[in-house]
């Protein structure tokens, strides 16, 4: 005859100390099941708020760039994704954040010139450096940690993972990846699966390495070439929408509104996982030094 059976719940009393329970039983404790009150006390101290994008309007929606997250930046072709992300990298470096720029379609010479243009606020994308400009740029480079990947040949996610681990050891916190298509290598019929896999892996890497990735993604071609890009336009959009912590969509206003200032760019925060606040801010492209300004305001409440 079997023993009298009791409901399983009788074995558990409210607020039972599980460590005592494990000791009384012969079952090994499972480290995946921890009472919330026994999580490290450090978790209750102030959180790492990350750092500013460099524009107060964009900070208002993103509330900063935090470690362990991935931000996808997308826009129609030629709208300024690389320029925008490069400017964020410079803004971060100026705040003392070590950054690493990867662009597999922009030569290192152009990366250097873009950075110099933004730093010196001069048209160094297309003119030679003077001696003075070179000295100022050297001063910037020695005071701020801006690393560049000089390899422009196709890479893959496995190789990138090894490089990211090295970058982590060097203290890099913010990584620009321009762009996703260069990390996805597959035949066309498996493209969506490959994109899913790559984006998922990048998100895991950002999380585990406690870095922030700025991942540039290209949208599908729009019907007329001048429509505003939306989240649905992203190639492999389901994975990108799912795994990205933040999604920023750039749009040159003059492409859909002929009356708009030709330098005005709408920066739409289409996803913000941490705070859920989405909205638009506007920046103005400055062709002289290939960067972005916002209208003067710093929100003080």
């Amino acid at each position: 005859m079997g023993e009298e059976q009791r409901p399983a719940g009788d074995s558990f009393e409210p607020a039972t100390n599980l460590s005592v329970f494990w000791k009384l039983s012969d079952i090994d404790p499972n480290t995946a099941i921890i009472p919330v009150g026994e999580l490290p006390i450090e978790y209750r101290k102030s959180i790492d708020k990350g750092f500013s994008t460099g524009w107060s309007g964009l900070d208002k929606y993103l509330q900063g760039i935090r470690m362990g997250e991935m931000t996808v930046v997308t826009a129609d072709t030629g709208a300024g994704k690389t320029t925008f992300c490069t400017h964020i990298m410079v803004n971060a470096a100026m705040q003392g954040i070590p950054v690493w720029i990867n662009s597999w379609e922009m030569k290192p010479v152009m990366i250097l010139r873009k950075i110099a243009s933004i730093v010196l606020r001069r048209p160094l994308k297309c003119v030679d450096f003077t001696e003075e400009e070179s000295k100022i740029f050297d001063n910037f480079a020695s005071r701020h940690k801006v690393y560049v990947n000089p390899q422009t040949i196709w890479t893959n996610i496995d190789e990138l993972e090894e490089q990211l681990k090295c970058a982590k050891m060097m203290g890099v916190k913010l990584v620009m990846l321009d762009h996703l298509d260069y990390l996805v290598n597959t035949r066309k019929e498996k493209l969506h699966e490959a994109i899913d896999e790559t984006v998922k892996r990048l998100h895991e890497l950002a999380f585990s390495l406690e870095m922030h990735f700025l991942l540039i993604c290209h949208p599908r071609q729009t019907m007329t070439g001048s429509e505003e890009v939306g989240m649905h336009s992203l190639k492999g959009s389901s994975a990108i929408k799912q795994y990205a912590d933040n999604i920023i969509i750039l749009h040159r206003c003059a492409r859909t509104d002929t009356q708009a200032d030709p330098t005005k760019v709408k920066v739409r925060v289409a996803k913000n996982r941490m705070f859920g606040i989405e909205g638009n801010t506007y920046l103005y492209y400055v062709p002289m030094w290939d960067g972005y300004e916002e209208l003067g305001r710093v929100s003080n409440g």
């Binding site: 708020k49 750092f51 500013s52 803004n91 003392g96 007329t224 289409a270 638009n280």
Partner: protein, 110 residues
């Protein structure tokens, strides 16, 4: 009796699409950029794909029904209580990350 609306490919314009009809379409599709979408329609009707279409009122309505809305152009109103928290969060973040000089550098001088 209203005259039928169609797209004249030679004149590159919608014929008989008057202001009354524009007002009506604006009322029927309040969140759509009407002028922008009409411009796109005209471009499409002149393209190889659209060359065989007449660009009638039915075509216009169907297009506008599928057009993206302007709702995402709205700024989100953050509740007042939350706004205070966000401002405090940002101020702490800006000070801690030495962001204020960088933000000032990126502001347009008037």
């Amino acid at each position: 009796m209203r005259k039928s609306i169609y797209f004249d490919k030679a004149k590159k314009m919608f014929v008989n699409l008057d202001s009354d009809m524009m007002k009506q379409l604006t009322t029927e599709f309040p969140h759509v950029d009407l002028l922008g979408e009409l411009h796109k329609m005209m471009m499409w009707l002149q393209s190889p794909k659209g060359s065989k279409r007449r660009g009638t009122l039915g075509f216009i309505r169907k297009w506008l029904g599928n057009a993206p809305t302007k709702i995402f152009d709205r700024e989100i109103d953050v509740p007042q209580a939350l706004q205070g928290l966000i401002n405090k969060y940002l101020e702490d973040m800006w000070e801690k990350s030495n962001a204020l000089p960088v933000i000032a550098l990126n502001q347009r001088r008037t």
